[in-house]
Amino acid sequence: MLPRDHFHQAVYGTAFHPRTAAANQLNAWHRWRDHTVADAYFDVGMEYNAIRNACAVFDLSPMTKHLITGPDALAYMNRLVTRDVARIKPGRVGYCVWCDDAGQVIDDGTIFHLSENVFRLCSQERQLDWLHRSSIGFDVRIAEETEELAALAVQGPTSCAALRKLGLAGLESLGPFAIRTYPFAGGTLTVSRTGFTGDLGYELWIEPDQALGLWDRLFAAGRDFGIRAIGTFALEMSRIEAGYIQAGIDFLPADRAVRPDRTRSPFELDLGWLVDFNKPHFTGRAALLAEQRSGSRYRLVRLDVEGNKPAKDAYLYDGRRRNVGVVTSAVWSPAAKASIALGTVEMPYGGPEDELFAEIYYQKELKWSRCMARCSVVPGAFYDPARRRLTPAPDR
C-alpha cells in the first residue's frame, strides 16, 4: 500500500534505490510505471558485456506482479491466457500472452505456478482491470503485489557461480523455467531460472525490507565473477538479440489501441506456439480459430540487416518499391556481429526466403543520409548460447 501522503511524489525509487543510486555514475534514469530505473550506470557497452561474458544485475522491481489464488485459480488462468496452464506444473514458470475477445494481444508476461492454485502473473503493463473483468464466474482472489516484492535479474555465464557463492547451494541443478526457494536473512528468497536476456540467468524475488541486504551480499559474492549493475539500455540490446518482443514497442497492447489495424494477434507476433486450441475455452479462442482458417494480416519478422547502421524505425520494403511494414526494434548486435531488427510486415511478405529492404535514415555530423539495406529473415533468436538451456548450469 502506498502511504497516505503519496501524492507529494509521483515517481518512487525501488527498494534497491539507495544502492542503484549510489552505483549510478551517470545519474541516468527513466520512469517505469511508478518507479525510476537506471538507463545505464557507467557504460552501456561494458554493461552489455557483463550480460554475455560475466554477471549482470538488473533491478526489475517495477515489473507489475499479480497474485491469483483460490479454488478456481487454475481454471481462471487457463481462461485468461492462450496456452495450456495445466501444463505449467507447480514450481514452474511459463511465458504467456493474453488476448481480448477479438484475439488481439493485450500483453505478454510470465506465469509463476507457485503452488497448487497459487499463481503469480508478471507483466509489463498494469492488468488489474482486465484480470478483474476476467474473474466473473470464477472463485478467485486477485491482488496486485508490485509493491510487495522486490526483484533482481542476475544474468550471464557466471550468474550461477555468483549465486552459489551467495549461498544458493545446488542452484546449478535448477532447470530453465523452474522455481526454488531458499531461506535468506530470516526470510525467503525465491529464485527462478528466467530472464529477458536469452542467456543463462536467474531472477531473485524478495520482500522489500530485505532488498538492500540481498544487494550487498550479492555484489560481495559476485566480486570475483565480474558482477556489474546494468541499466535498461544494455538489457534492451540483449533482449533484441534473443528475439524477444516487448509490449508498447513491438506490439501495441490491444486495450490501448484506438485504430483497429494497430493490434496484433499471437500468430502475428510469431507466438502461435503459445496458442492451444485443445485446452478449455480461453478469451480470443473463436477469433484466433477464425484467423487460423482465414489467415493472418501481419507477420513478425526477425531481420539480419546488411551493413552496420541500426535500422531503428525503418520502413520495410518488398524489393525497392512497395512499403510492406516497419522495424519496431533494432540494434547493432555485438554477439551476432550484425545489425539486427524486429519488425512487423503485412502478409504475405516476410516469409523465410523473402528479401526485404530497410529504408534507414542515419546521421553523420548532423547531416542526414539514407540507404536501402538488404534484409534477410532469420528464423529464431539472433544469439542463442547453449548455456541458456543446460542443466546443470555452467558454473564459471
Binding site: F138, P280, H281
Partner: protein, 519 residues
C-alpha cells in the same frame, strides 16, 4: 443411455413455446424442458388463494404478435379474449377520474386544447409505434456488415423512418430518445392526462418520467395490436395462462414434447460447442441445438458459465441492466370494491394511479437509492369483472402492477415486504375507501419473489431493461443480438432478445427463423 434430441428448448414461457411450435412445425423434433409444474413460465394463471386465480405476472395482453397468433392458430387452440379495447381510468384522490378511450377523453375535466392536442399526439405516437412494430418481426440489423445481405435490415429500418414523411421523420428523430416528461410538458397541460400517459413510459422499467428514452418505452408499449386494432389492451379469458396454454397446445399438436418439473442445472459443453443439458435431477439430455427461453444472464452466466465465454462478452452480459422494479399485487376481494368517482361499468377497465408527472417521479426517486416508493404508482385490473372463472361467485380478484419496488432493496425484501404492502394498500385505500376491509387474502410478488419463482435473473420480467441501449441490435448485448450465441449450438429466444418483453412471442418466432435458416 443418454436421451438425444435434435432441439431442446429450455423454458416453456411464451417465447419458448412459440419457438418450439414453429421448429416442430418445420419438422424438427423438439423437447421443451420447463422447471415449473405447468407450461407457461411467468405467463401463467395460478390460484393464489382458494378459489381465486390470477395472471401471475403480466396481466394485460397487448403485444401478442399477430403473425404468431395466425401461424399457430391460437384461436383454434382455445385462446379467447374476455375483454378487449380496455379504457384507461386515471384515478385521482382529489378530483373526478379521467376516462380515456384511445385518444379520446370520454369522461372527466380536460380543456378543449388538450383534447385536440391529445388526439394529435396520440395519432403521431401511434404512427411511430407502427414503425417500431414493423421491426418486431425482423431479425435486428447488424452493426458490422460482411455482405450486402447483412445491410438489408438496416436499410429497411432507414427506409421505414424515411417513409414517415419529412415532418414526422424529423419529429421521430427528435423525440425518440427524449424523456416522456418533456414531451408531455410541451404537448399537454392537464396534469391528470400527463400522469396517465407518462405511466406507459415507465411501466416495468427502472425509469422515471424524466429518465432518458422513456418516450421510446411508451411507443414500445403501444406497438402491439389486438384483433387488428393497434395499441389496445385486452384481457385473455382465463388469464395470461390461457395464452401459454394455447401455445402449448399448438406446440404439442405440431409434434413438440413439453416436459414439466424438469429444471435445467447446466449446459453441457464439449469442444467449444453446447451439446446438451444436465437437469437438476442429474439426468443429461444430449441436443444438437439448445434454445434458451431463460433470460440472458441466467442462460449465459449461470447455465453456461462465463468460463465458456470471452471476457469482454461475459462482462457485457454481467452488466446487462436487468434488476426489476415492478412488483405484483394480488388481492382476493369479498366483493367488488368502489373506487371514488369510478362508475361501476368502468371497474373492468384499466385503473391507473399516477395522478401527475411529479407524483410518478417522486415514486421513482427512492428506487435510485434502493428504497421502495412510499407512495407507489399502480396499474390495476379487476379481471373477474369480465371473467367469472377467476373468482368464486360474487367475489373478485384485483391484479395490480406496483412500482417502484427495486429488486436490490437496501433492507432486503424480507424486511421490506410488509411495509411495502402496507404503503400500497394505503394508496389503494385512498382511491377506493373501504377496499382493505374486503381483502380476504393478499399476495405481493416482489422482484426477488419473481426471480425465485420464475427463475428470472433480477426479477425483471422483460429479461432486461427496456432502454434504447438495450434494444434492437444491442439486445441483449452487442455480439449476441441475432439469437445465435457465441458458443455454437446455443440460441436465445426469450424477452432478453429483440424485440423484447411483454407477452409477444416475436423473439421466439425470430429465433426459430434464424435456427431454421441454419444461422
Amino acid at each position: 443411455m443418454t436421451e438425444q434430441w435434435p432441439v431442446v428448448v429450455i423454458g416453456a414461457g411464451h417465447n419458448g413455446l412459440v419457438c418450439a411450435a414453429l421448429l416442430a412445425r418445420a419438422g424438427r423434433r423438439v423437447l421443451v424442458l420447463e422447471a415449473g409444474s405447468q407450461p407457461g413460465g411467468a405467463a401463467i394463471t395460478r390460484e393464489f388463494a382458494p378459489g381465486y386465480r390470477v395472471s401471475a405476472v403480466a396481466h394485460l395482453l397487448h403485444l401478442l404478435d399477430p403473425t404468431v397468433e395466425r401461424e399457430l392458430a391460437l384461436a383454434q387452440h382455445g385462446l379467447r379474449l374476455a375483454a378487449s379495447g380496455l379504457r384507461t381510468v386515471a384515478l385521482s384522490a382529489a378530483a373526478a377520474p379521467l376516462v380515456l378511450d384511445g385518444a379520446a377523453v370520454v369522461r372527466g375535466e380536460v380543456c378543449a386544447a388538450d383534447r385536440s392536442a391529445l388526439a394529435a399526439l396520440s395519432a403521431r405516437l401511434q404512427k411511430f409505434a407502427a414503425l417500431i412494430a414493423r421491426q418486431h418481426g425482423r431479425v435486428p440489423p447488424r452493426l458490422a456488415w460482411a455482405s450486402w445481405k447483412d445491410a438489408l435490415p438496416a436499410l429497411a429500418l432507414a427506409l421505414d423512418i424515411r417513409r414517415l414523411g419529412r415532418r414526422d421523420m424529423r419529429e421521430f428523430l427528435r423525440i425518440a430518445t427524449m424523456n416522456i416528461h418533456d414531451v408531455l410538458e410541451e404537448s399537454l397541460v392537464s396534469r391528470a392526462l400527463q400522469g396517465a400517459l407518462a405511466f406507459d413510459g415507465v411501466l416495468g422499467t427502472r425509469l422515471g418520467p424524466r429518465s432518458g428514452n422513456t418516450l421510446y418505452a411508451a411507443l414500445y408499449r403501444r406497438s402491439g395490436s389486438v384483433a387488428g386494432r393497434a395499441g389496445v389492451l385486452a384481457l385473455p379469458q382465463g388469464g395470461m395462462g390461457a395464452v401459454t396454454q394455447a401455445l402449448a397446445a399448438a406446440a404439442r399438436s405440431a409434434g413438440a414434447e413439453i416436459r414439466c418439473n424438469a429444471a435445467v442445472r447446466e449446459l453441457l459443453v464439449q469442444e467449444g460447442r453446447v451439446t446438451g443439458v444436465t437437469l437438476e435431477s442429474g439426468a443429461t439430455i444430449a441436443a444438437a441445438i439448445v434454445v434458451s427461453n431463460a433470460d440472458p444472464k441466467t442462460t449465459l452466466l449461470r447455465l453456461l458459465g462465463a468460463r465458456h465465454l470471452e471476457t469482454g462478452f461475459a462482462q457485457r452480459v454481467h452488466h446487462l441492466r436487468s434488476t426489476g422494479t415492478a412488483a405484483k399485487l394480488h388481492l382476493a376481494l369479498a366483493a367488488l370494491p368502489a373506487f371514488t368517482g369510478v362508475a361501476d361499468q368502468d371497474l373492468g377497465q384499466r385503473l391507473v394511479i399516477a395522478p401527475d408527472l411529479d407524483y410518478i417521479e417522486r415514486a421513482f426517486n427512492p428506487a435510485k437509492y434502493r428504497e421502495f416508493s412510499a407512495e407507489p404508482v399502480l396499474e390495476i385490473t379487476l379481471p373477474s369483472v369480465h371473467d367469472v372463472t377467476l373468482a368464486p361467485a360474487g367475489r373478485h380478484v384485483l391484479s395490480a402492477i406496483v412500482q417502484y419496488a427495486p429488486y436490490d432493496l437496501a433492507t432486503g425484501w424480507d424486511a421490506g415486504r410488509e411495509p411495502f404492502l402496507r404503503a400500497t394498500l394505503q394508496v389503494l385505500e385512498r382511491h377506493a375507501p373501504g377496499i382493505s376491509g374486503l381483502v380476504e387474502h393478499a399476495e405481493l410478488l416482489t422482484p426477488a419473489d419473481i426471480e425465485q419463482q420464475f427463475r428470472i435473473s433480477g426479477g425483471h420480467w422483460h429479461h432486461g431493461e427496456l432502454a434504447l441501449d438495450q434494444f434492437m441490435m444491442l439486445r441483449p448485448v452487442p455480439g449476441a443480438a441475432h439469437y445465435a450465441m457465441p458458443v455454437p449450438g446455443l440460441y436465445l429466444c426469450g424477452a432478453g432478445c429483440h424485440p423484447g418483453g411483454g407477452v409477444m412471442g416475436s423473439a421466439g418466432r425470430n429465433a426459430a427463423q434464424v435456427i431454421l435458416k441454419g444461422g
